[in-house]
């Protein structure tokens, strides 16, 4: 871990962090503001006017009258998947592949820091800022819920949901970081590091449209973010979390190891 490099990452990536956090805040605040246990039926009526497949594709299912399941249905199917993905894909590419592609990696490695140290610093940066992003979002969700609807949110279950969501995002960041480490150019790093997670989002959306194409869910890491199961089944949440953490660790370690061993054209 090199704190100088970490601080420099902050300087060059805070804009995208702020953008993604800002977008999430807009959705978070409007979703809570829109919640009204009394008019939940009206909401259902509104959604019923839209084609069923479309509602399912965006994960707006079973919003219900319960604030916890309402938020889970409204935010965790699409919004908390896509916006963090923008952050992950851009930053993961910036941290390693862009430096190699543009040649500035030569300056980093011309200092007495091993490649492992440089790569680990970048990994820690991505993991920690993504965690901070989710902590801020979860904090805002709980804070706003308590302010507007005191006592309605089942905080324990809700935090579990957010932890599992974070683990899913970390696993996705593992894919993007791995791609950033193994490719020498930004084009390939983004094609795999952003392209694969985007494909996962699409597969999940397709799978949710109809039972007939439900097999697509086996092709998407986001299918593990099954909000109903996470909110109701502790053993599911634990199993999924452990699996995601293991996958994340493998991807990050492999990324660092390959980056350490490969030839750099810088």
């Amino acid at each position: 871990m090199n704190s100088t490099l970490f601080k420099t990452n902050l300087k060059s990536n805070w804009v995208i962090f702020t953008f993604v956090f800002g977008m999430l805040m807009i959705y978070v605040s409007t979703s809570i503001a829109m919640f009204n246990p009394d008019t939940a039926e009206a909401m259902d009526a509104m959604f019923s006017m839209l084609p069923e497949g479309m509602i399912k594709a965006f994960g707006f299912v079973g919003l219900g009258t319960n604030l916890t399941t309402y938020l889970a249905g409204y935010l965790y199917g699409f919004i908390l998947v896509v916006f963090p993905l923008i952050y992950i894909a851009v930053v993961a590419n910036n941290l390693v592949a862009k430096h190699v592609d543009r040649g500035s990696m030569a300056y980093l490695l011309a200092t007495p820091n091993t490649r492992v140290k440089v790569a680990v610093t970048q990994a820690v940066y991505l993991i920690s800022t993504l965690t901070v992003l989710m902590i801020l979002v979860t904090g805002a969700l709980i804070g706003l819920s308590e302010a507007l609807f005191p006592g309605l949110l089942e905080k324990g279950r809700f935090i579990v949901l957010n932890v599992v969501t974070l683990f899913v995002l970390l696993a996705v960041s593992g894919i993007s970081f791995f791609a950033s480490c193994i490719f020498n150019d930004t084009k390939m790093s983004l094609a795999i590091g952003a392209g694969l997670p985007v494909a996962f989002v699409m597969f999940k959306m397709v799978a949710d449209i109809s039972e007939k194409v439900n097999f697509f869910r086996y092709l998407s890491i986001y299918s593990l973010l099954n909000t109903d199961k996470i909110l109701n089944d502790n053993s599911y949440a634990i199993t999924v979390s452990l699996g995601l953490l293991a996958g994340t660790a493998i991807l990050y370690v492999l990324g660092v190891v390959i980056f350490n061993r490969k030839s750099l054209a810088i």
């Binding site: 090199n2 100088t4 490099l5 420099t8 300087k11 060059s12 543009r102 040649g103 500035s104 030569a106 300056y107 980093l108 490695l109 011309a110 200092t111 007495p112 820091n113 091993t114 490649r115 140290k117 061993r261 490969k262 030839s263 750099l264 054209a265 810088i266």
Partner: protein
């Protein structure tokens, strides 16, 4: 001390460097000469530990350049051939960043170099000209007072005045016992500051020469332009080796002692006299044409 032993690096295209061997001692400036694409940068990438060699090894201060890259960098100053800096920073931010990455304590040399090269470090690197970036790169390579310098085409983009400042800097560092490797495709600068020169062609070292030997090649060629054809005959009939290049121009090869030559010369009406230097360029071309 830099040692390159039988270093081979083959790219998928079949290009690369093959069996490159040379050493650079402490207090020595080694010029690494060759046209673009000859393999200079490939050699330097290996010295910096950026690439995995196909065969052979590169050592700096007896340490393996690939395996001990980070440890070696403590005592190495590197100037890349292309100035790809973190261009959203200002010049001084970039220097501070690199200084912090090195845990560099003194900024004395850095500030002296900024002054010496008259660089405005307050501007964003993005907005800097090629020459300004080159100066910034030079300062970044020299500011931590390393023992070994690896410089890839250090004068490219510098104006003649700054080229001179740079050459003087190299001479100073050499006096202080530094080990210096500089690549170039400019003969003159290599001849001016280097002790030895290695010429690389198509990935292979074709010759390594002492510049001092080159400068003192005892055979000199004088180009004489005669006013009178009779005087020209005198030279043609003399024991000197001559080469008639025009109706009134002779190229005369002379070696020590020069007395006879000048005695004969003083009896002739000469319109002009020029000395043809055996330059690195002549030598370079010789190796390239063959």
């Amino acid at each position: 001390m830099i040692q390159v032993n039988n270093l081979t690096q083959v790219y998928p295209s079949g290009k690369g460097i093959f069996d490159v061997t040379f050493q650079v001692a402490e207090g020595e400036v080694f010029g690494y000469l060759g046209p673009n694409g000859a393999g200079k940068t490939t050699t330097i990438r290996n010295l910096m530990g950026f690439t995995n060699a196909t065969q052979g090894e590169a050592l700096i201060n007896e340490k393996d350049c690939r395996k001990d890259a980070a440890a070696i960098q403590k005592s190495v100053g590197y100037l890349p051939g292309e100035m790809n800096m973190l261009d959203y920073m200002t010049g001084i931010e970039f220097l501070k960043f690199l200084g912090d990455m090195r845990a560099m304590k003194s900024t004395e040399k850095r500030d002296a170099l900024i002054k010496k090269f008259e660089l405005d470090t307050e501007g964003k690197i993005k907005k800097m000209s090629k020459g300004m970036k080159q100066k910034l790169g030079i300062i970044a390579a020299f500011m931590h007072d390393p023992q070994v310098y690896i410089l890839d085409e250090p004068t490219s983009g510098l104006d003649p005045l700054m080229q001179n400042v740079f050459m003087e800097l190299i001479k100073e560092e050499k006096k202080r016992g530094k080990t210096i490797l500089m690549s170039s495709h400019i003969f003159e600068e290599v001849q001016r500051v280097c002790d030895r020169v290695g010429i690389i062609k198509d990935g292979r070292i074709v010759t390594i020469q002492n510049i001092a030997d080159l400068n003192s090649v005892n055979k000199k060629k004088y180009v004489l332009t005669f006013a009178d054809k009779k005087d020209m005959k005198k030279f043609e009939n003399s024991p000197f080796e001559t080469d008639k290049t025009d109706i009134n121009i002779l190229k005369v090869s002379v070696s020590y002692p020069f007395n006879d030559f000048f005695a004969l010369l003083s009896s002739c009406d000469i319109k002009s006299l020029e000395v043809e230097h055996v330059t690195l360029e002549n030598m370079f071309m010789k190796y390239y044409e063959s």
